[in-house]
Amino acid sequence: MGILDFLIEIYYEIGTYAPIIQVAVASIIFSVIITISMFIYLSVIRYKHQKNINKKNQIRPQIEKLFKDILFGDTIYHEDEIYTEYTKIVGKLSARKIKLAIDVLLELKFNSPEKSRRYQSIVDALRFETYLEKKLDFSRGSTKMKTLQKLQQLDLKSLDSKVLNYAYSKNKELRREARYSHLQLSENDPYRFLDEIKGDLTYWDEINLLKFLKIHNEKNELSNLGKWINYSDNNSLTVFLIKAAGLFEQFDTKEVVYKKTKSNVTSIRTEAYRSLGKLKAAEYESKLIERFFSEKEECQLAIVRSIGLMNTGNAVSFLKKAYLEAKTIALKKEIALVSFTYKSNYNLFEDLKATQDGFDRTIFNHIETQLIKFK
């Protein structure tokens, strides 16, 4: 009797058993088959992983040495020389070997203490662009997203039009990454998507947008954010742009930021008050003081912080009054903190401290203790 006949016989025999037994047997067979398959799969992935690691350990140091020589050495390599030297190490160029070259180059670009102007020669010689373009064309969403990140890291502006294709993708992660990439890589209209942001920004959006604005700012190419602050109907974006204007000290935006202190939206007003301080907009100090007593607490905190940053020396009596009328610990603490560094002939901090006792006195002691880093 063959195995097949045996199995058929068992199959029919089990069919005569109670349902419980049938389910149990089926489940046991299922579990055993899956367990064996998974074990084989695990062995394969571990084997492949080990093989890759061994190979990388073998050739990666050689690639690093070559790239360091190209980037930081005295010899100037031509593209065909780079290609020849690289293929001498890795053999025939394939997608995996280009990926390895990109990883090594990025490692050197971001982690090496030395900086070079020759990154592009490696990019061109090993045809990174063609490789990344193919990745963008023929891979799934998540790989496309990671490819876009590589474009950002390599600062490959030539693929900007490709990036734009994904800026309206249905895949929201890919769409978001494409828009970030466009902001960094586009030379014509990097800010076009600022007008198209719908809904609230997440904290992550803010962090990324700020990162790319910072790149423009470092190259002195950052546009004046005032026009978007002025016209954007997206409250969340407006808050972010006001924050960015403050962080990048775009002094030209003072007026439009001040206008936003009259907004009906508390978060916009709060950010505007805060940014005026960073923009050293001392000309609006008296206006902020006027508004203080009719504002919500988060706005009051922002006003006090701004007045501290303006540090004109003219707000001593305001700070004193604000402290004496403050009802929450957070506000008292903020005013005490500002008064500690406030430049004036009159020592407001000591004056206020002298009149306090109990926990309020501890707030002053806390603030003047240098050992406490985060007040």
């Binding site: 419980i20 046991i28 579990s31 074990f39 997440t202 803010e206 002691n365 203790t369 050992l371 880093k373």
Partner: protein
């Protein structure tokens, strides 16, 4: 006759439901893990690390009689990679030299600290800061012993300054990028994420240098190795799976990142609870539901925390007895949530699942054992059927364990060698015979101790300490 049939069918239905739920969780966790792998990269860490606007995080770690590990682990916490964070260590009235060691190592002095008791705790004696600028992120809160980790954690939350806090144990070693990885679900979600968890593993046989894990190895001793597999299963399969449908039952006390405002409004940890982690999540979720606010609890599939697992049965017994008592206490304290539609998923999925498949499981297993003994005694047992039913659950348990080992290897290959992975797989075959019966026994003992109101210790565990090179 009817009684025996009913019990057989009940057990079969119960175990089949459990198996079905595990299969469902396996699919859910696969989706979340693949999604996480696809849409997260190390570039995100770099972006966040270099950001000027990253939100601050307070790392809160309570310590009670931790003199053996405290110094290494505080050094480890201070070297976390994140642009804005502080470390708050709470000495909960230790009877050993924990505080003295901290003072000496980190040059601590008492400071006038504006400590606000937003959550009620046992009195704080003093707050200390370092005179060495290298340790300016460190704050040590010295308080009277509150009897539970929860009370100490609350004091740490009160002393913390940032909007998010990461709760951990001082015997834990965190991966350097823990904060970068764990804050991301909070930053990327439009819905309010009130808590984030990540996987814990055993530090027992790992190589540690300067408070950092340099080589992950499976524990040599069997008890912690069983626990390693159990943890990976609990985190990668169960919690990752539940996170897909926003039904995470708890974020571990060993490693959890929380929204401070919500945690404080929910009343913080319950100082009397012995399952303070599940209790906190329960109260935070209740707060959100009662205030009609949308929320999410997220898990990431990365192992970010290595903790010293109980090295022997005695210490395991203490730990598990406390956890079981805590579970029963949770159902007593929050009984109004169970099967209550007002609490939505918490009342209709999370609590019922925990009640039926976690709380009742040891009792049902005990019932099964008694009935087998009864049948054996009266010669009524059908050995073929008994063997079949045993194989049914055994094969499934092994399959699930191997599945999570694969998940673990897909997420990140923590073990360097395949032989180390095999060591973990080996315990999957032994677990139902050795480890599981112990866990069932300690569970029942925990329920008994809770019901007989016997006092349970702080969660103290005799530490061997980690060997550092």
């Amino acid at each position: 006759m009817f009684g025996e049939d009913f019990f057989e069918y009940f057990i079969f239905f119960y175990s089949t439901s459990l198996i079905a739920s595990y299969l469902m969780l396996a699919i859910f966790s696969m989706i979340t893990i693949i999604r996480y792998k696809n849409y997260n990269s190390n570039l995100d860490d770099e972006t966040l690390y270099n950001s000027d606007i990253a939100p601050g995080i307070s790392v809160v770690a309570p310590a009670y009689n931790e003199e053996k590990t405290i110094i290494t682990n505080v050094h480890s916490l201070l070297t976390l990679e994140y642009p804005l964070f502080e470390v708050v260590i709470v000495n909960d009235g230790s009877k050993d030299t924990t505080l003295e060691k901290l003072i000496k190592e980190f040059d601590l002095v008492e400071v006038p600290y504006a400590y606000i008791e937003r959550i009620k705790t046992q009195p704080v004696k003093k707050i200390l800061k370092s005179t060495n600028p290298l340790y300016d992120k460190l704050t040590v809160v010295d308080k009277e012993n509150g009897g539970t980790k929860a009370d100490a954690s609350n004091a740490g939350i009160n002393a913390s300054v940032f909007p998010y806090f990461l709760c951990t144990d001082v015997d834990c070693i965190l991966a350097r990028n823990t904060l970068l990885k764990m804050i991301k679900p909070i930053l990327i979600n439009k819905k309010k994420v009130i808590a984030v968890g990540a996987t814990l593993r055993m530090v027992n046989s790992c190589e540690v240098k300067d408070g950092e894990i340099v080589r992950v190895k499976p524990p040599k001793d069997f008890i912690p190795r069983f626990q390693e597999l159990e943890y990976i299963r609990a985190y990668l399969l169960s919690k990752m799976g539940w996170s897909l449908i926003n039904c995470v039952p708890n974020v571990s006390g060993g490693l959890g990142l929380f929204d401070k405002d919500i945690a404080v409004r929910a009343g913080g940890y319950d100082g009397k609870s012995h399952a303070e982690d599940m209790d906190l999540i329960t109260r935070m979720v209740s707060y959100m539901i009662n205030n009609r606010q949308k929320y999410k609890i997220e898990y990431i599939p990365l192992s970010c925390c290595w903790t010293e697992g109980p090295p022997d049965v005695n210490i395991l017994s203490r730990q598990r007895t406390r956890w079981a008592a805590g579970l029963l206490q949770l159902f007593v304290v929050h009984r109004k949530i169970l099967f209550n539609p007002k609490y939505k998923k918490m009342g209709l999925i999370v609590f019922p699942y925990a009640f039926i498949f976690e709380f009742l499981a040891p009792l049902i297993e005990l019932g099964g054992l008694i009935s087998i003994l009864y049948l054996i005694f009266f010669g009524k047992i059908n050995w073929d059927l008994a063997a079949l039913v045993f194989l049914y659950s055994y094969c499934f348990a092994v399959m699930i364990s191997i599945l999570v080992v694969i998940w673990d290897n897909i997420t990140f290959k923590y073990y360097q060698k395949f032989s180390e992975v095999l060591k973990l797989i080996m315990v999957a075959f032994l677990e139902p015979f050795i480890y599981h019966p112990l866990i069932v026994f300690f569970g029942i003992r925990g329920y008994f101790k809770f019901l007989s109101s016997k006092e349970l210790a702080w969660g103290t565990m005799t530490r061997k300490g980690v060997e550092t090179s």
